[in-house]
């Protein structure tokens, strides 16, 4: 191309053109680069600047703060690392560089693989299932803590305990929390606490560290011991960004040791408030209920019936009086009627009495056996008779018997 005053590009245009090419390249936008760290520098802003190099070439690398926070190991000069990120150009300087988002120390790749493999296996076995999680007691009676007695974790936890809660019983079971012996000791600690009858919550904990430091908490025997624990387990391992397999299988995962202590005991204040609230509601409810019952009772007592109970039977009394008056009247009436009837009957009887007839001069005649003589055929001549008149009896004997055919009445 020949020089032509009208035919050139600006530097920015070139930069933009290059950027367009780089960002369209699939390889350059998602790659892992392996090399040695040199010229490492951490700015006050938290961004990391370093060069990744091998024998023949070097690659400027920048890792911004929000990504670098997740780096869980110390980056040192000369360290072999594997970096993930994308390539772009830094136009101010006309340099291309790697924008890193993940750094793994070389040689640890196998640990990451082991982590993922075990995690997947246990997940498939269902060890992380929610329904396997045991309930954390609201008020633990005694907490067993498996941790290093000299580490920062135990001090953090105890200071939380000091600050938050007067009455708590804790048994610390010392254990190595890193190195080859650690996993066996952690398992022994969990088993020991399960063999006691007074522990109702376990915390297993250690402070932050590299992936190797935290590795015991990714060991299958530790994970299985946590899963098998009859006592609920809270894991408080490392920093917020550290995840171990123990965290997944624990009944509760705390981001840090202090948080584990908080989660174990922080409930108390809320529980006390809740209990207080419940008892206030209970008492208030009962007070209202009793007051209402009193009011109701008072309003019933105010009714006429209770104020003047005589009213209840005053009518009946009157009614009773009326009835008895009526009864008396009816009785008198009946009695009078009977009396009248008696008088009539007795005057009739008087009229019919034979005594009256005898008074008028009639007599009655009996035979010797006191049979009344009313027929001449009862008589024989010479038979003795007794005739009663008004003032005495006449004894006589039959002289003659004359039949007259019967007198008409």
């Amino acid at each position: 191309m020949e020089y032509n005053i009208d035919n050139f590009y600006s530097v920015s245009q070139i930069s933009n053109y290059l950027e367009a090419i780089l960002t369209q390249d699939k390889i350059l936008q998602d790659l892992w680069v392996k090399g040695e760290v040199s010229n490492f520098y951490q700015a006050n802003s938290g961004h990391l600047y370093f060069t990744v190099k091998d024998k023949n070439a070097q690659l400027k690398t920048v890792m911004f703060r929000h990504k670098s926070r997740k780096v869980d190991f110390e980056i040192e000069e000369g360290m072999e690392i594997v970096v993930h990120g994308y390539i772009n150009i830094y136009k101010d300087r006309g340099e291309y560089q790697l924008y890193a988002d993940q750094i793994v120390p070389e040689g640890k790749g196998t640990l990451y693989q082991a982590f993922e493999k075990l995690k997947k296996k246990l997940e498939e076995e269902g060890l992380f299932d929610k329904d396997r999680k045991k309930k954390i007691p609201l008020i633990p009676k005694k907490i067993g803590i498996v941790t290093s007695p000299t580490g920062a974790a135990v001090r953090d936890m105890l200071s939380v305990v000091d600050r938050r809660f007067e009455n708590i019983s804790i048994l610390i079971v010392p254990s190595l929390v890193q190195g080859d012996q650690a996993s066996r000791q952690i398992v022994e600690g969990i088993d020991y606490l399960n063999s006691r009858s007074d522990i109702d919550l376990i915390i297993i904990s250690r402070g932050g560290g590299s992936i190797e430091d935290l590795w015991p908490f990714n060991e299958e025997e530790v994970v299985r011991a946590v899963d098998a624990s009859k006592i609920p387990v809270i894991s408080g391992v490392g920093h917020e960004t550290d995840f171990t397999i123990t965290d997944f299988v624990a009944d509760l995962r705390a981001p840090t040791p202090s948080a584990a202590a908080e989660l174990a005991i922080a409930n108390r204040e809320e529980i006390e408030k809740h209990l207080d609230n419940l008892s206030k509601r209970l008492l208030q409810n009962q007070r209202t209920r009793i007051e209402n019952a009193h009011k109701k009772l008072a309003s019933i007592a105010e009714r006429r019936l209770f104020k003047k109970p005589s009213e209840l039977f005053i009518d009946k009394m009157q009614n009773l009086d009326e009835l008895s008056r009526e009864l008396k009247y009816k009785m008198e009436q009946t009695l009078n009627k009977s009396r009248q009837r008696f008088n009539i009957l007795s005057s009739k009887i008087d009229a019919l009495s034979p005594l009256k007839t005898i008074k008028r001069g009639y007599s009655i005649t009996y035979d010797q056996e006191n049979n009344l003589i009313s027929d001449i055929n009862q008589l024989e001549v010479g038979q003795e008779l007794k005739t009663t008149i008004i003032n005495g009896d006449i004894i006589s004997s039959v002289q003659k018997i004359e039949e007259n055919g019967g007198l008409d009445e």
Binding site: K141, I170, P174, Y192, I271, E272, L275, S279
Partner: protein
């Protein structure tokens, strides 16, 4: 309350919540509500006892290679 009653704190709180809800809902006969109320009082007493039961005690297990274990106050062994 029967001391041997197999009650734990969580169950007690749960039962208490239900009693308070039931009472607040109303509609219970006075006798029944009095029964529930006195049960509620028992539960509150139990919960308060449970809350104040534990004493502050921070201990550490000491074991040597031969598995002989003893328990001592944490401060005695590891206090600064």
């Amino acid at each position: 309350m029967n001391k041997k009653e197999d009650l734990n704190f969580e169950d007690a709180i749960e039962e208490l919540e239900k009693i308070v809800d039931d009472l607040e809902e109303g509609g219970l006969a006075l006798k029944k509500s009095l029964e529930k109320f006195s049960r509620g009082i028992e539960l509150i007493k139990y919960c308060n006892e449970e809350l104040n039961k534990t004493e502050k005690k921070i201990e550490v297990l000491i074991k040597n290679d031969k598995e002989i274990k003893k328990i001592v106050p944490f401060e005695d062994e590891f206090g600064q």
